[in-house]
């Protein structure tokens, strides 16, 4: 099967600083991919390149076989949706209004059933008439997730399975919604969407992803199933921590051994 999204020998150099180099990466339709790595490894830069927000200084990005830069913004939005880590909102839109933004140019009456479906799926019905600036960070993030899922659903109804990009989607969610979100991502993948998420929590990543891509200093240090990638050796090399890896079922589980970096430096 041809990849839903594909990056070939991509690199990003800004003002002499190389943020990414030699990145070869692809995700197939229906695949869940977690991008992990220490701070400054280039995870967010990679996601911005995948989303089309940044053009790589070297290499190409393709979505469903066509060069990313050949898509006009509205066409691109029909094939890929992006959940950003932080979205600040300066005017008092309600949750329902924010979610409806995901419907694009679809007339309001036609969009409403889709809006209702998303509000239910993300458990936002109780908050639908609340203004976003009055909500907690996690509640706002869920509203934006519903908006992004609606955009994805609208695009997929027209063009078939698309690409969903999530930038640390669980950063301000409580445990219950972290798990909900991971399960939701997996459900989307079962329907054919390629779901790519930056995750900090390695245990969550191992539960979420078919494949984990480990970034380190702008390069891909490892790529494979959770069992292949989440290893003591990788964590020592890339994250500089000593860990014990346990197994729950078939999935690796990380336990930091001592609460200090492996090299002894802070």
């Amino acid at each position: 099967m041809s990849p839903a999204i594909e990056v070939s020998s991509a690199g990003m150099t800004i003002r002499g600083a190389t943020l990414l180099d030699g990145i070869d990466f692809s995700a197939a339709p229906g695949e869940t991919v977690a991008i992990v790595g220490p701070n400054g490894a280039g995870k967010s830069t990679l996601l911005r390149i995948l989303s089309g927000d940044l053009l790589p200084t070297r290499g190409t990005v393709r979505i469903k076989g066509a060069e990313l830069r050949s898509y006009a913004p509205d066409k691109l939005a029909a094939h890929r949706a992006v959940l950003s880590q932080h979205v600040t909102i300066s005017f008092p839109f309600t949750v329902e209004e924010v979610v409806r933004m995901g419907a694009g140019e679809i007339p309001r009456a036609k969009a409403q059933p889709l809006v209702e479906a998303m509000l239910s799926e993300i458990d936002l019905n109780a908050l639908r008439h609340r203004e976003l600036p009055t909500l907690s960070g996690g509640e706002q993030q869920r509203a934006h997730f519903a908006r992004v899922l609606l955009q994805l659903a609208v695009g997929e109804a027209k063009h078939g399975p698309g690409v969903l990009l999530l930038d640390e989607p669980t950063s301000s969610l409580d445990l219950r919604y972290q798990i909900n979100l991971v399960e939701l991502g997996k459900r989307r993948a079962k329907a054919g969407t390629a779901v790519i998420a930056i995750l900090h929590d390695l245990n969550l990543a191992s539960r979420f992803a078919d494949r984990i891509v480990v970034l380190s200093k702008g390069r891909i240090a490892a790529s494979g199933t959770p069992r292949e990638t989440i290893t003591s050796a990788m964590l020592r090399d890339v994250f500089e921590v000593e860990t014990t890896i346990g197994l729950i079922g078939d999935l690796p589980h990380v336990l930091p051994q001592i609460m200090q970096p492996a090299s002894g430096r802070l």
């Binding site: 927000d53 691109l76 949706a81 300066s90 008092p92 839109f93 933004m101 955009q151």
Partner: protein, 365 residues
């Protein structure tokens, strides 16, 4: 009170927890009724008063007993008062929509074309036309510099807006402080240049310039109204096309791009639209401030921030407010007139301060 209730009321200090929006139809009906009422009020009041029972015949509804008064009423109404009401309504609509679009573009409820120097840029271009071009063209007398005024004011506003955007936004983000401060600096520069022009002007030019600086709807004629009308029509035609873009832009330029908006095109259309509307308004009646801040702010409280409704509602409410303010300016010291720009600033500036203080209270810094 349970802990949950406390946390809800603490997180939304100034609104009820749930926010329900009124229906679009009800909003337009109410605003249209308001506009008609203020227009009728404006038609009856003035140096030559026309009470309601004489207004209807003069407007062409029903007969009259007194032909002499009827003729005078008709003259006052059709050649002085109605063109003035029409101009006031169009100026109000243009300024209010310009403010709304600018606030959407800069994602900042404190943006206003007059406040951040866009009107000053237009006024400088107008003053430049009056003083410099007039003395260059006057000997030939064939062309009148006044015909160039709308064009000059538009060009001045456009250049100012572009400059402001270049300075205040970086990597697709606009800093509020940078925006207000650079607007202030641009306004100061434009005002200094206007000062220089005043210094150079002769008596007649001086009178023309001060008319522009104070902002007045005096001297309204049908031909001025005809000059404004195309701008109102163009704004009305463009509004539906930028409404969704401005909504999503509230989430930031990056999110707007992710949502499928052509951000660069949206910004370009918005900047040209704001400049054209502000320029046209400045060319006809000079600098009138704060309409663009007060109108959208009050409307957002009542009908929400969605631009599909907010933009046309701003036009209607701005029109009504301006007709009302102008009537007030005419009547307050009749038969003399206060320039309406002084009036809007007197009401608008404290309102702006109140908004600043409220924002500080909300942010808590």
């Amino acid at each position: 009170m349970s802990a949950a209730e406390i946390s809800v009321s603490a997180s939304s200090p100034h609104t009820a927890a749930a926010k329900r929006r009124p229906k679009a139809f009800a909003v337009f009906a109410a605003l249209l009724a308001l506009l008609v009422c203020t227009a009728l009020l404006a038609a009856t009041l003035g140096a030559a008063g026309i009470p309601l029972e004489r207004l209807w015949p003069a407007l062409g509804f029903g007969g009259t007993k007194d032909p002499a008064t009827f003729a005078r009423d008709q003259l006052v109404l059709w050649s002085i008062r109605i063109p003035r009401i029409a101009i006031a309504a169009m100026i109000g609509a243009l300024l209010a929509v310009a403010g709304t679009v600018m606030q959407g573009l800069f994602r900042n409820p404190l943006a206003d074309p007059a406040l951040v120097g866009v009107s000053s840029g237009g006024a400088f271009a107008a003053a430049f036309t009056i003083v410099i071009l007039d003395s260059m063209i006057a000997p030939n007398a064939a062309a009148n510099a006044f015909e160039l005024l709308p064009l000059a004011a538009f060009a001045g506003s456009l250049i100012t807006t572009l400059l402001l955007y270049k300075i205040a936004s970086r990597d697709g983000r606009t800093s509020v402080a940078m925006f207000l401060l650079s607007g202030l600096a641009i306004a100061a520069l434009a005002n200094a240049a206007i000062g220089l022009l005043i210094f150079m002007a002769d008596d007649r030019q001086l009178r023309d310039i001060s008319f522009w600086l104070l902002g007045s709807l005096g001297g309204a004629t049908w031909s001025k109204a005809a000059l404004l009308a195309p701008f109102v029509i163009i704004a009305g035609l463009v509004m539906p096309f930028i409404a969704r873009g401005l909504d999503v832009l509230v989430l930031g330029e990056q999110e707007a791009f992710y949502s499928g908006i052509n951000v660069e095109r949206l910004k370009m259309i918005s900047i040209v639209l704001v400049s054209a509307m502000t320029g046209a308004a400045v060319a006809i009646c000079g600098v009138i401030g704060f309409v663009g801040i007060v109108v959208p702010h009050l409307l957002r409280l009542a009908i929400g921030p969605g631009h599909r409704l907010l933009l046309p509602a701003s036009a209607l409410f701005g029109a009504a407010l301006m007709v009302f303010a102008d009537t007030f300016a005419r009547v307050l010291t009749a038969p003399a007139e206060i320039p309406v720009g002084i009036l809007t600033a007197t009401i608008g500036a404290p309102f702006f301060l109140y908004m600043l203080l409220r924002q500080r209270a909300l942010v808590g810094s």
